[in-house]
Amino acid sequence: MKSHAYNFTPTGLVTVAGPPFAVVLLISGLLHLAGIVGLLPEPRSVQDMDHTVLSHQIHASATPASIALIGDSSCLMDVSGRLLGQELRRPVSNLGTMSLLDLTAFASLASNAVSATKGSATVVLLVHPDFLMRPTADPRVLCDFQAIRQGASPSREPEVPAEWAASILATDLFRDSIESTARSFPLSGEFGRRYGFTDQIRAAIGRDLGLVDPRKYRFVRREARPFEVSPRLEGQFQALRGLLPTHVRLDVGITPIPESEAEADFGPRHSRALKTVSEWIGGDVRILADLPAYLPDSEFATRTHLSEEGRLRFTRLLAKNLSAEGLGR
C-alpha cells in the first residue's frame, strides 16, 4: 500500500524554497556593499563584557591622567581608580582590561594616556600571578584589540563553519555596526544581576574607574603550580619599558591571591618574581614590594579578583605604597 506521495516537481520545490534564501544572500550582499562604501555606522564592540571593557579602555586611554593603571583583569577589578585618585589627590585612570592581552598591548594603552597628559606621569602595572606564569596572550584577543584601536570591527579570519557563515552572510557586520549601535547587550550570571547590560558596564568603569566582581569566592582544591614568572615575558617587559617615554615613571606590582591558595613558599616566590621583573626592566622601575601577596579568602570574588570590600582595602594599600614611593599628597 502506498504510504505517501510527492505531488510536486523539483522545479516547484525550488520555486518555493529558493527565493527566501536568495533574499538572505541579497541582504548580505547589500550589507557588504554598505560596509565597503562606508554607509554603515562605525562598529561598536559591545556584544559581551570582554569586548565592552576592551573598547571602553581603548577610548579611555585618550583621557589625561597623572597616574595610569594598566594590567589584566585583576587591575580592573581589584582597584577603584576613583578611590585611589581621592587618596592620592591626583587624576587616575584605570586601564586594566578583561581580556588575555600581552604587556605590549598594555603599554600601548599607557602610551596613549601618557601622550594625552601634560606634565609628569606615572604608569602603574598591576598583574595577577596567573598572568606572569602564562607565556603568551590569546592571539584572537590581540587581533580584536588591534581592530578596535583602528576603529574597525573585531573581525578576524573565520576558523569554524559558523564563523565562515557569519562572515559570508554579513551577520557579524550587522551585529557590530547596526545592532550594537541600536541597543545594549544583556550580561549573564552575576554580572548581569549587578550591572544589567553592557552600557552599564561602560558607565560603571567611567564612574568608578574600575569594576566590582560580584561573584563569591569558594575555595576549590586544584593542582598547585609553583609561582614563577614565565621567561618568555622578559622580552615583553623590556618592550613595555621601551614603549614608554623615558620621563615616565613605571611602577610594577602583583595583585594578591586568596590565602588558601597560597602555598607555604608563595611569599618568597612572590618576592623573587618582583625581583626578576625588576631586573628584566632594569633602570628606573619601582617595585611595589609592600603590596600583600595574599589576602583572606573572604575578601575575594574569584581566585583572581577581589570582592567589593577587598578591592577597597587593596586600593588603600596601593595608595599607601604609591605615597611611600613619592606619589600623592
Binding site: T15, A182, G192
Partner: protein, 462 residues
C-alpha cells in the same frame, strides 16, 4: 536534539531521504517514523526510551482491553491506565516535590525529617507523551475512537518526533488516522510547512532567547524595583510565548513537510480580550485535554454556577500543577482559576465593557500569572510583588526598554499581520515576491541571532 540545532538539521535531512525511499510502504513509513522518533528521543537520554516504549506498549494493550471489556472490568482497566500513567508522572515529576513539602511541614511542626534528598531526573517530555497516551485510553472509554490494533501505528502516534517532547498533545482521533492512511505532500504543504518552520525558528531564536536574557536579569535581582519587575515580566511573557509557540510552529511545519497535520496550539493569545478566550488560544491542546478529561467529567457547567466555578478552579489548579512540581506553579494555576472565577462572576457587567478596557485587564492578569510562573520560589514572588508598589527603577531601565522594543516589535508586527490575515499560514499565502522578502528577512534575523550552543525549550522541563 533541538529543532534549533545543526544536529537536527542533519537528522531531518537524513530522515527526509529515507522517508522518500519508503514512499510505497505504509508499514515501512510508520516503522521509519517510529525508529527516527526513538532515536530523536534517545538522543537526550537513551535510558528513558524504555519508559516511553513501556508506557506506550501498556496503553496500546489497555486500549484494546478497554474496548473489549464492559462494566466493572472496563472501569478497572481505565483506572489502571490512569494510575500507571499518572503514577509515572508522580514518580518522576512529583516525588521530590512531595518529599520536600512533607519535610518542610515536619520541620515547621518541630520535627526532624530523616530521609535522603531525592534527585530524580525528569525524563524530557514525559508530561506530554503521558497525557497523549492516557488521552487515547480515555477516548476509547468514552467511545470517541476505536482502539488501534496495529502496534507500530500506535507507537508511532505516541512517539511522533515533531511533537513528542513539547506537544501539541494530539488527540488520537485526529492524529492516529493519519498513520493509517497515505499522505500527500504537495507544493502547498511544503510552502506552508517551510513558512511555519521559519516563523517558529524566528520566534524561538530571534525573540524568545534574547528576551529570556532580560528576564534572567530582572528575576535574579537582589533588590527588586517596580520597573525592573514590569520589564522582567514583559520579557518573560514574550520569551515563553516565542519559545512555546515557536516550538509548536516548528512541530506543525515539520509534520506538514512529511504530509501530517498537527493541531494549532497557539492562536494569538496575547490579543485575547477575555480570560476564557486567552485559554482557548494558549496551549490549546492542553486546555482541550483538561476540559475533556477533568472539567467535563467534574460536571462542567451543567450543575449550576457554584459547581461551574469550582470545576473551573480545580481544572486550572491541576493545569498549574501539571506544569511543574513546585508551589509557584500551583499558585500560577490557582491564580488563573481565581481570575476565571472572578471573570465568570463579573460576566454580566464585564461583558459590556469595550475591548480596549478588557484587553489591558487580561494582559495584567496574565502578566501577574507569568510572575508566579517564572519565579524560583514563592518568597521571590512576594518580594517582586511588594516591589511593584515602590515606584523605583533599576539603572538598566533604559537599556532594557530599548532591548525589549528591539525584539518585541517584530514579533507583535507578525502577530498583527496574522490577526489581519486570519490564518497562521498567512506568510505562505502572500504573493511570491513579498513572501520571499518576508521569509528572507526572517531567515536573516534568525542567522543574526543564531547561537552555536542552542538554547533549550522552556517546556522541555515540564
Amino acid at each position: 536534539m533541538l529543532f534549533n540545532s545543526g544536529t537536527f538539521a542533519l537528522f531531518f535531512a537524513a530522515f527526509a531521504g529515507l522517508y522518500w525511499l519508503v514512499r510505497n510502504s505504509l508499514v515501512g513509513r510508520n516503522r521509519l517514523i517510529l525508529a527516527a522518533s526513538w532515536l530523536f528521543y534517545g538522543w537526550w537520554d537513551w535510558r528513558f526510551l524504555g519508559l516511553l516504549i513501556g508506557s506506550s506498549l501498556l496503553d496500546h494493550r489497555l486500549g484494546i482491553a478497554v474496548e473489549e471489556a464492559t462494566g466493572t472490568r472496563r472501569r478497572r482497566l481505565v483506572a489502571f491506565s490512569v494510575a500507571v500513567n499518572l503514577g509515572l508522572l508522580g514518580v518522576f515529576k512529583y516525588t521530590g516535590f512531595f518529599a520536600e513539602s512533607l519535610a518542610a511541614l515536619i520541620r515547621s511542626l518541630g520535627g526532624t525529617p530523616d530521609w535522603p534528598t531525592l534527585n530524580i531526573v525528569l525524563p524530557v517530555g514525559i508530561s506530554f507523551y503521558t497525557f497523549q497516551s492516557l488521552g487515547y485510553v480515555l477516548d476509547i472509554d468514552h467511545g470517541r475512537i476505536k482502539a488501534c490494533r496495529d502496534r507500530v501505528q500506535f507507537l508511532a502516534f505516541v512517539a511522533f518526533f515533531p511533537q513528542l517532547v513539547a506537544g501539541p498533545i494530539e488527540r488520537a482521533s485526529r492524529l492516529l488516522p493519519q498513520f493509517q492512511t497515505p499522505r500527500v505532500i504537495t507544493t502547498d504543504s511544503i510552502r506552508t510547512g517551510l513558512w511555519l518552520v521559519i516563523l517558529g525558528l524566528f520566534r524561538k531564536v530571534a525573540v524568545a532567547d534574547p528576551c529570556g536574557a532580560l528576564a534572567d536579569i530582572a528575576f535574579a535581582q537582589e533588590h527588586h524595583t517596580t520597573a525592573g519587575v514590569v520589564l522582567g515580566v514583559a520579557a518573560f511573557a514574550l520569551q515563553i510565548y516565542g519559545d512555546f509557540a515557536g516550538y509548536s510552529d516548528m512541530a506543525r511545519g515539520i509534520a506538514r513537510l512529511l504530509g501530517f497535520e498537527l493541531m494549532e496550539n497557539f492562536a494569538l493569545p496575547y490579543f485575547a480580550t477575555g480570560l476564557r478566550t486567552f485559554w482557548r488560544r494558549w496551549h490549546i491542546s492542553l486546555s482541550e485535554w483538561l476540559r475533556d478529561n477533568i472539567y467535563i467529567p467534574l460536571g462542567g457547567n451543567r450543575f449550576g454556577d457554584f459547581r461551574t466555578l469550582r470545576n473551573l478552579f480545580v481544572t486550572m489548579a491541576v493545569g498549574g500543577f501539571w506544569h511543574g512540581a513546585s508551589w509557584h506553579f500551583v499558585a500560577w494555576g490557582a491564580w488563573h482559576g481565581l481570575a476565571l472565577v472572578a471573570a465568570f462572576a463579573a460576566r454580566p457587567l464585564a461583558g459590556k465593557w469595550p475591548a480596549w478596557v478588557r484587553w489591558p485587564l487580561v494582559v495584567a492578569v496574565v502578566g501577574f500569572g507569568w510572575l508566579l510562573f517564572r519565579v524560583p520560589d514563592l518568597s521571590t514572588a512576594r518580594s517582586m510583588i511588594l516591589a511593584l508598589g515602590d515606584g523605583t527603577a533599576p539603572v538598566w531601565v533604559q537599556s532594557a526598554c530599548i532591548y525589549l522594543a528591539w525584539f518585541s516589535v517584530p514579533l507583535l508586527t507578525l502577530d498583527l499581520a496574522q490577526s489581519r490575515a486570519g490564518s497562521p499560514d498567512w506568510g505562505a499565502r502572500l504573493d511570491p515576491i513579498p513572501r520571499a522578502g518576508l521569509q528572507g528577512v526572517l531567515l536573516f534575523a534568525i542567522a543574526v541571532a543564531w547561537k552555536r550552543e542552542p538554547a533549550t525549550f522552556l517546556y522541555f522541563q515540564f
